[in-house]
Amino acid sequence: MSRLDVETIRKDFPLLARSVHGKPLVYLDSAATALQPRSVLAAMDRYYEMTHANVHRGVYATAEEATRLYEAARVAVGRFVGAPDPEREVVFTKNATEALNLVAQSWGRRNLAPGDRVLLTETEHHANLVPWLMLAEERGIVLEYLTIDGDGRLDLSDLDRKLDGVKLVGVAAMSNVLGTINPLARIAEAAHAAGALVVADGAQSVPHLPVDVKALGVDFLAFSGHKMLGPTGIGALWARAALLEAMPPFLGGGGMILDVRLDRFLPAEPPQRFEAGTPPIAEAVGLSAAVEYLQGVGMDAVRAHELELTAYALAAIDERLGDTCRVFGPPAGPDRGGVLSLDVQGVHPHDLAQVLDQFAVCVRPGHHCAKPLMRKLGVTATARASVGLYNDEHDVDVLIEGIAEASRLFA
């Protein structure tokens, strides 16, 4: 595995050349959304300048080209997560949220009856929580939760008992608050043994770790383009072909049918069945370029770099800020991603983020769409710094300098 050359990589991201408040931007909010390399922007420009046409059914040259680019993006994105049959298994959505809603509304409504149990975790993002709460309200399915220990790791000690009678397990591959990388393969194996399927929320894992759906053994994987160097407006659901084939449509409209009469319709085969309306074509082209960029760097190298930086940050925070700054989640290691949720003594996260903004440091204060987890941690909010492949130790140093300043101001 080659090491990642962060200095060269930084040059590929135009936004990193920007200054705010007269200082160079320190972007530490990749868990919310990542920056785009020039190649992604160029691919989308090129598409709009040279090709743009609606996909499917066009016979003229540019329409045929648009379709080819869109379908090639599907294959590229599928291969990126190890999909065995990407042409049939990857559904483009608006984002991870829509992909998870698709699972709940299509698979869930078809397969879950009143009293059926779904096992989630108390660390889930609202995107993998509210769709199931909606189903619970609508048809009385029962939700149960895996809890976390003091380090922010899932307590799997009684997993088998908790899985008893469960139809579906929903779990984030990596927590967007704690940075915990959950043992999906182990959970999937136990779930399958208990007769349950597994939907993985890969919004945080696919951008930062090598992901292979075959190795993980999950049944659904949802993720968002904009967190993996791609544009906003596109995400994907990977699912086993056999599952998709048995699922009813999610949204209705053009592009998702074989035939329509005034009193009935015949849905198309997957993945088209789940892509009603004109899809995000330029965004698919951009996402394809993002995947190509990540593969060029190598996901092993991305992960190694981010883990090294996370370890550096955790050690430096401990050394320079001591007890005044607490970071939630496990220590740096194989099950820790680059998300640092900070709790600084005497400084509210909102105030911390405000002071950091003066240092041109971008972090995010709030509940990070994980309100149940905030309650569990005993806070209303945290300030979250998160790293990407383009961050370096200097970024972390400026962050720590800013935190120290905030502590001084509010002391």
Binding site: H21, H350, G366, H367, A381
Partner: protein, 169 residues
């Protein structure tokens, strides 16, 4: 670029560190209003008692950032014991201080180069800061648009509480 000192005045930090009128009045008879700022999870609980057109007592509970908590504390000190007309007038004056810049925020927030050219030219109708006393310390908040909601959270709760008290009579 607005300075942090504009936001975190000493009076604000003082009220944040040692909030006035902390706690909750027994309700009933007090009216109890909860305010939430979903953006940052700030939460404020205002309990108040009205007697003979006077805001006889007020207490503040909840947790949140320095701006929401100090604004609530400053508010409680400013309105406690005042007659209701004066309280209503103060709410109006404070709210207009918090919205003075709103019309100009578009150009401020969207300045593409972030160079700090704030386009703060047109200043509509000035608010009489004299009348606000210590509360004027919060005027810097308007330069930080996302924080305005923090500052007005307790005021909206107070306003709602007065409405409830009026309706109950």
């Amino acid at each position: 670029m607005p300075d942090l000192e504009d936001l975190y005045r000493e009076i604000i930090l003082d009220h944040y560190r040692s909030p006035r009128n902390r706690g909750e009045l027994a309700s009933p008879p007090a009216h109890r209003i909860e305010g939430f700022n979903p953006l940052c999870g700030d939460e404020v609980v205002v309990t108040l008692e009205v007697e003979d057109d006077r805001l006889a007592d007020i207490k503040i509970a909840g947790a949140g950032c320095s701006i929401s908590q100090s604004s609530a504390s400053l508010m409680s000190a400013a309105v406690k014991g005042k007659d209701l007309d004066a309280v209503r007038r103060l709410i109006r004056t404070f709210k207009s201080m918090m919205s003075v810049h709103e019309a100009t925020l578009g150009s401020d927030g969207a300045s593409g180069d972030g160079s700090g050219a704030d386009g703060e030219g047109a200043e509509p109708e000035p608010v009489d800061l004299q009348k606000l006393g210590e509360l004027a310390a919060l005027q810097g908040v308007v330069k930080f648009p996302v924080r305005i909601k923090c500052a007005t959270l307790s005021w909206n709760a107070l306003s709602q509480g007065l409405d409830e008290a009026a309706a109950a009579r």
